[in-house]
């Protein structure tokens, strides 16, 4: 059972490494970074203290929102989805930048 699980994981990793375009890997690593930062903040809130709570909400919300924006950018820039989305990768990147600008103003307002 464990051997088959290991085989599946290895096959998945190999397939991901070989078939995934480099641009998508860059976005995937950014998404992993957002997840890790969110986990660290949540662990601090759970283990140490919720003070200041508004700062935790701003930071954690920022990590989650960045993850969501990156996921949208990945979907739109994936060559396999070109039939579903008419816009270009550069247009998707412009939307990504605009969403981040608005997000960071909201986060700065909530950060306190």
């Amino acid at each position: 059972m464990s051997a088959s699980t290991t085989d599946v994981v290895c096959k998945l990793a190999r397939g991901y490494t070989e078939k995934t375009p480099r641009r998508l890997k860059v976005i995937d690593t950014y998404m992993v970074f957002c997840v890790l930062v969110g986990i660290v903040q949540f662990a601090y809130c759970a283990l140490v203290s919720t003070f200041p709570y508004n700062a935790f909400l701003a930071g954690f919300g920022s990590a989650v929102a960045c993850f969501v924006f990156a996921a949208n950018l990945r979907i739109k820039t994936n060559p396999k989805n070109t039939s579903q989305f008419s816009g270009s990768s550069e247009g998707a990147f412009a939307e990504f930048v605009l969403c981040h600008i608005i997000l960071h103003f909201i986060v700065a307002n909530f950060l306190g």
Binding site: F33, A94, H104, F105, A108
Partner: protein, 288 residues
């Protein structure tokens, strides 16, 4: 007939007559008459220790004694000069201490029959007479917006109580300057130790370092920016300006100036971004 100051009003003949009329109304019978005033002192068992019925201007014969176990009960009817039942807007039984001058006003409530009644219960006795026994002057203070008012002195009563308790109460009741107040600032909220906070800060920075490391390993570079250097640089610079504006807003810039700066940056950022990204698309298409 100009009044010569405030006193000048009262020196005028008309003012004098008005004052005399008001005084007559306030201190004499006026239009309200208290009738069938029953003053009772009852035992706990229901036996009557003292009972007397008065009609104005009669007063109590003797000085009845009341205590917590033998409370006072006063009932009365109020009529107008035309002998019609009057509805009062205020009906108080005033008990004024002859020794100290302290006055207690107890409300007389109207019963279903139309008369008014005041019962001094044991609880009220302890509440109102805890400051001391002594002789009290009892009076009815009655008033009506339609018919005026009347002040009817019934007589004196003696209130029993513990002199020691009253003395103690007197000692406790000090009327002097209050103790000086000292402002107490709110206690600082307990925060985690700096070591723990710094450790978690480092833990939050580590993924960023790892991210850059993985990107470098993947071969992320800025070579494509050279294809449209000016536009790309300007676009990145304006986006960075927005991030700096967000930091400035966090640090201290107020909301509306921030919005003004953001609005000022919006059009150049859009135009430069449109230019840079469209040129990049053209390069990509030309390259393919």
């Amino acid at each position: 007939m100009k009044p010569d100051g405030l006193l000048g009003v009262w020196t005028h003949r008309g003012g004098l007559c008005l004052f005399a009329l008001l005084l007559f109304i306030s201190t004499a019978w006026g239009e309200l008459v208290a009738k069938n005033v029953n003053v009772k002192v009852m035992e706990r068992t229901g036996d009557k220790l003292f009972g007397q019925q008065l009609s104005g201007p009669g007063t109590l014969e003797g000085v009845p004694k009341i205590s917590a176990t033998t409370p006072l009960s006063i009932s009365f009817d109020v009529v107008t000069d035309a002998n019609e039942a009057a509805v009062l807007d205020q009906a108080f039984v005033s008990l004024r201490s002859l020794a100290t001058g302290d006055e207690i006003a107890l409300v007389a409530k109207q019963t279903k029959s139309g008369s008014y009644r005041m019962d001094l219960s044991r609880k009220n006795f302890r509440t109102h007479f805890s400051h001391g026994p002594g002789t009290y002057n009892v009076a009815l203070v009655l008033g009506s917006f339609a018919n005026g008012g009347v002040f009817y002195e019934l007589g004196d009563i003696s209130v029993a109580g513990s002199a020691k308790a009253s003395n103690k109460q007197r000692e406790d009741a000090t009327y002097g300057p209050r103790p000086e107040t000292h402002h107490r600032f709110a206690e600082a909220q307990k925060t985690p130790s700096a070591v723990v906070s710094l450790a978690f800060t480092a833990m939050a920075v580590v993924p960023l370092v790892a991210l850059f490391g993985v990107w470098i390993r993947l071969g992320v570079n800025a070579s494509n920016l050279k294809k449209e250097a000016a536009g790309s640089t300007a676009f990145m610079g304006l986006v960075s300006a927005y991030m700096a504006l967000a930091v400035a807003y966090w640090v201290g810039v107020k909301l509306f100036p921030t919005l003004a700066y953001a609005l000022a940056l919006a059009l150049p950022t859009y135009l430069v971004g449109q230019f840079a990204l469209s040129r990049r698309i053209q390069h990509n298409i030309g390259g393919h």
